[in-house]
Symmetry: C2
Subunit: 236 residues, 2 copies
DNA sequence: TTTTCATTCAATAGTTTTATTGAATGAAGA
DNA sequence: TCTTCATTCAATAAAACTATTGAATGAAAA
């Protein structure tokens, strides 16, 4: 039947996309690329994959039109193909938390172990920024900060927080944010801040969610440049 | 590293869901279940799968918490686990059409072959219903109509349209709708209507989209009942 | 030109997914 | 009780996916 063939082709083509999403590493890669363009080695470092393996996963995502690549100098930068990719990932993330008890448990158990850290919503942060009652701190690696960050946020990469913490004011609330709800960098930062007499809290979601909500951001002009050997892997 | 383990578990758990979505038959099943609860045999008939195979795919979806099942009499009815499942499927569908040229091509080629059929948006239909200038016709199988349909729509299953067409008024515009944008039943209906001197057009999306948009629907009171041997497979 | 090196390619073995088949289950009806 | 039959289960072979390894590519730098 003609219509059967059509439907078979259509759903098959659709599943090309969903198949590409059906792998834990590729989901993690998408979550990372939501921060901005990244080279293969950076992706590999931050996802605990070998370079060859990361490259292959990136190619799978590329063939499914979920990411695009662009050569800059000797690096090949991959990024999400468009906003809808991030929105779809958000829908999946939300679905996971609603439907899968195990995901909730994993998440809550992990966060509880690290004390009860204060969390604030995007709306609350917007209000607090208006009254100038908070300092917003971006704890992601500097590269990601440069690719785009919440307006007026300060870059305090988690790795450098120990050395730089004294630059922060003790009398203001410090709101830390990171890659997103599945990222624990902001939690680590808040715990460390609280231990040192600061009043810290974490933004519930991360930079990509903020940006997707059309809230004010800033971007480094010359984010093309990349110093030799400067690539800093995450500690995880 | 502790955080690495956590992330690995989290993304792995998430991929349980996306893996279940990574198969063309299961996408088609989800699209079908968006119409309402359906028994295994009905799913099998409408997706061109063997009963055993359909059952297995349904179980995969169930283990991923995407669908739920409920025994009624001797039938096992499966349905989408919640609204977010449909919303996620919509996000994926949208992504497919935005990103995948091949999907667009498939779709447009197929529709062009069947003449240029007039399509109207949900908003337009809402307006036209207010001015009472249209007759809305549900061309899905009767079972699906009974599970829920657009308010005041008439049930004209595609299979019975030929016999029942004379019951429709020639002076009003007839708007046909079906399962959704990937379903071609409404197209078939409109083509047949136009060939017979009616002024037909198809609603762009389908019943589940209408319902998800909180637009007015009706539901049969006694949709539990199912007459023996009444199960009508689609013609595809 | 030669060297360097980020990335990709190609081959492979191990694992997972898939469709098919026929049998088993078990609830409803006779 | 026995029969019916919608669904699930179990086994299997074919296909697809995955991580690993080491080599190949090819553009930038020396």
């Amino acid at each position: 039947m003609d219509i059967r063939k059509f439907k078979t082709s259509l759903y098959k083509e659709m599943s090309g996309m969903t198949k590409a999403l059906g792998n834990p590493h590729r989901l993690e890669i998408l979550d990372l690329l939501a921060q901005g363009p990244a080279a293969v080695e950076y992706v590999a470092l931050n996802t605990n994959l070998s370079v060859a393996n990361a490259s292959q996963h990136l190619q799978v995502l590329k063939n499914a039109f979920l990411v695009e690549s662009e050569k800059r100098g000797k690096y090949n930068y991959y990024k999400l193909a468009n906003k809808q990719v991030f929105e779809t990932w958000c829908a999946l993330r939300r679905l996971g938390f609603i439907q899968n008890e195990e995901i909730n448990k994993l998440f809550n158990d992990f966060r509880k172990k690290r004390k009860h850290l204060k969390t604030i919503s995007t709306d609350d942060l917007v209000k607090k920024i208006k009254t100038d009652s908070v300092v917003v701190v971006d704890v992601r690696p500097e590269e990601e900060f440069k690719n785009g960050h919440i307006e007026n946020a300060l870059s305090f990469p988690l790795m450098e927080l120990r050395e730089k913490i004294s630059e922060l004011p003790k009398e203001k609330e410090i709101v830390a944010y990171c890659r997103g709800p599945l990222c624990m960098m902001a939690d680590d930062a808040v715990e460390f801040l609280n231990q040192n007499g600061y009043s810290g809290s974490r933004l519930e979601k991360g930079y990509p969610d903020w940006s997707a909500g059309s809230l004010p951001i800033e971007r480094d002009e010359c984010n093309q440049r990349k110093e030799k050997g400067k690539t800093q892997g995450s500690i995880y």
